[in-house]
Symmetry: C2
């Protein structure tokens, strides 16, 4: 199946999105790089935007998903908490379950679409 036909899950909390595809990817990059600014660069995203996404996640969940060390803007490093790691794992698991549940339908939809542009 075409990768672009995977379902994308967003969880909504009022008008906020505690976790979705972009935030999950950001969490993964923070886990790898130990830095919000490095993670932002991986995603070609401004530090400010990455910081806002982290802030939304941390505000929406009962415990922070990302912990930042002191050191000012981009200076102190960041790490994903054990709780954040668990949320990320469960989110990816949920994506897999949803993808499996709709795999046949996605194949059907794929057959109805024109070819993707390069």
């Amino acid at each position: 199946m075409n990768d672009s036909l995977q379902p994308r899950l967003r969880i909504l909390l009022g008008h906020a999105i505690p976790i979705g595809p972009g935030k999950a990817e950001l969490l993964e990059h923070i886990a790898k790089t130990g830095s919000i600014s490095a993670a932002a660069r991986c995603m070609n995203m401004s530090y400010r935007r990455a910081w806002l996404l982290v802030d939304t996640m941390n505000q929406c969940f009962k415990s922070p998903l990302v912990e930042t060390a002191t050191g000012g803007k981009g200076g102190g490093g960041a790490r994903i908490s054990d709780f954040g790691r668990e949320v990320l794992r469960r989110y990816r698991e949920m994506e897999d379950k949803a993808a499996q549940a709709v795999a046949d339908d996605m194949a059907y939809f794929s057959s109805l679409l024109v070819a993707a542009p390069d």
Copy 2:
């Protein structure tokens, strides 16, 4: 379960979204009102934005989901094609399947979130 915790499915075609929550809702309003401009008003959306969403859907799928009559901007009426009705039905069905597949996980995530703002 909180309505706001339903998974939201988007199908991607390259960078375009042939169908997702907003487009599905727009299709439903067009089916009810017989007009893109009336459907746009239902969603508090500009006519231009609604027209662009319809155009994206029609461009991404092999057949048009929405057929417009002549009569100029907002003047000629619009109807959802049989094909569009079938796509919408399958999309809603797919949402239901995905929601069922992740219902337990959504309940778990719900328990991890702070209360939604009013």
